[in-house]
Symmetry: C2
Subunit: 332 residues, 2 copies
């Protein structure tokens, strides 16, 4: 079941969420609007990156779950602003990631760097970061600004650690998990945490939701890394094996490598070194690495779900549980 | 007289400023420090970009001038934090500008992009932006965050407008002044404005100082553009004629072009199109364009200085006046 199917599976809450995402989209567009037509064209182009709106959804659901509510009255403009802020930050990371990865395609469309050059993509990413901090500042709550700054610091550090470990065929699993925790887990964790803060949650609720988000985010990224290898371009909207091309060792390859004997390891080094995708996929299929990888993702989701026990029971908490499960069965 | 000579010309205030810049440097380094050694190495490398510390100096002086004080007791940690914040933003723009401009050299040293590639430079700039917003949030004053977000929005828009006008030989003087106002004037204006806010200035003081900074910043950039053409690499630390190479039409060339007849204009188009520096400098020297350019810069400084009339007389206001004058005689 896809993320969106999961959301809609709960009818009344599903309708509320769809309407909220619409309002959040309006805030997003309104705040990005510039007097400059070229800037607006670029922002329109990257709207297609918005896709699943996972992060805004988590802001809203975490807030509702903290309050034990599924009512529209529990939400206000601060929720919509914060949700737009985190989505802008996410988009900024996508635009700058595409420069780092020299990617031509995202969600089946051309990337900004491939269409307009690195210079325009650097600027557009900066514009999105700037706009997100500015929009966040309109909330008038320094603690939210501070939390957001901590997350973007962590995101950047994750990116730097990943750059350092490029082409390192010996990279350990815990380094991989650290990178993924910083690059994907931290922002998703912050969405849940800040949603809970807006919902007036106590420290235990807020911290539990942060951990829920972080762990769910890591599981999300692990399945993303599996899709990078095994997914179909027409569904994922990305070319297969990009991580391999970029010298990024992801969990399936780490699991594969760690299960090999000495001669197998030499073969692994040759295949990864030469970026030979078909040989790699053959080797993967003859191993248990993909099963073990998905087992790690499943364990991460179970851990994440246990974090929700402290919250009051209700439809929003149920939907968070469902969402975390849907991470394991995603296809794009 | 250089900027630093000007500062030291007032003895007691000069000593205070030198000591404050030292404290600001400590805040800067402490907040940029990461657990990651590679990040720290990169931050050490770009410390050499800090150079003149014009922006932190203006934060401190504007605050003192607003209070009509030249006493250390008038300053506190908020001043040092804010001064470090604006310097970080300035450094982030330098790191990303060097990617856009494909520059190899800055202040006589190699740029981050030339040493480590665009990917590392994109990340380092993002890290500096993130750290600056985070540090700013520690002040706990949403209005300062908001003002900073407005400035970074403006900086990005200036960059985009500049990219759009690349290689446009017909670019008008007011478009040039708009770009320069956004790219250089806005941040320098914000330094003066926010310094005044910290000094408890009323609206008139704060807004006058903003205009002072913006206009001084524009004059600063105009002389920078003259230096780009006429300066010596061993003094400026940059190669001559970079703007021409990058297809950026600056004020000396706009003045030159606007003074030419039809056949002169054809020659101008040929020279600029072929990036022929020696022919261009010959054409400039045979014209009155450099004089006219410096006249515009001088007029801008006079306008800036008049903004200070509303402030109480005192050594800090005097030094602001001197600083704005020194912009016209800078060599690097």
């Amino acid at each position: 079941m896809s993320l969106i199917d999961t959301v809609i599976s709960n009818k009344s809450l599903g309708i509320l969420l769809v309407e909220e995402l619409d309002l959040i989209g309006d805030v997003f567009k309104k705040h990005l609007h510039s007097q400059d037509d070229d800037v607006n064209d670029l922002c329109m182009h990257i709207e297609r990156y918005r896709g699943k709106m996972l992060r805004p959804t988590l802001v809203i659901l975490s807030s509702l779950a903290t309050m034990g509510s599924d009512s529209r009255e529990a939400l206000d403009d601060r929720h919509r602003v914060l949700a737009a802020v985190v989505e802008m930050i996410h988009m900024a990371t996508l635009v700058h990631d595409d420069i780092l990865d020299e990617s031509d395609v995202r969600r089946g469309g051309a990337t900004v760097n491939s269409l307009h050059g690195n210079d325009v993509a650097v600027m557009l990413g900066d514009y999105l970061i700037s706009k997100s901090f500015h929009l966040c500042s309109t909330l008038g709550d320094p603690s939210i600004n501070l939390a957001l700054g901590e997350v973007t610091n962590t995101l950047c550090e994750g990116e730097v650690i990943q750059l350092q470990n490029k082409n390192d065929l010996d990279m350990k699993q815990d380094v991989y998990l650290d990178i993924v925790g910083r690059k994907t887990g931290s922002l998703i964790g912050a969405c849940c945490y800040l949603g809970a803060v807006l919902g007036g949650g106590d420290d235990e609720h807020c911290e539990s939701l942060r951990l829920f988000g972080e762990e769910m985010g890591i599981a999300f990224q692990i399945t993303d890394d599996v899709l990078d290898l095994m997914g179909k371009t027409e569904i994922t909207g990305k070319s297969v094996g990009r991580d391999l091309d970029l010298g990024k060792l992801t969990l399936p390859l780490i699991k594969l490598r760690d299960g090999l004997d000495e001669s197998g390891r030499r073969e692994f080094n040759r295949i990864v070194g030469s970026r030979d995708k078909s040989d790699l996929i053959e080797l993967l299929n003859s191993s248990n690495a993909l099963n073990e990888t998905m087992k790690t993702a499943r364990e991460m989701v179970v851990k994440a779900q246990s974090r929700l026990d402290v919250l009051p029971a209700g439809p929003a908490r149920e939907l968070l549980l469902e969402l975390s499960k849907s991470v394991l069965t995603r296809h794009s």
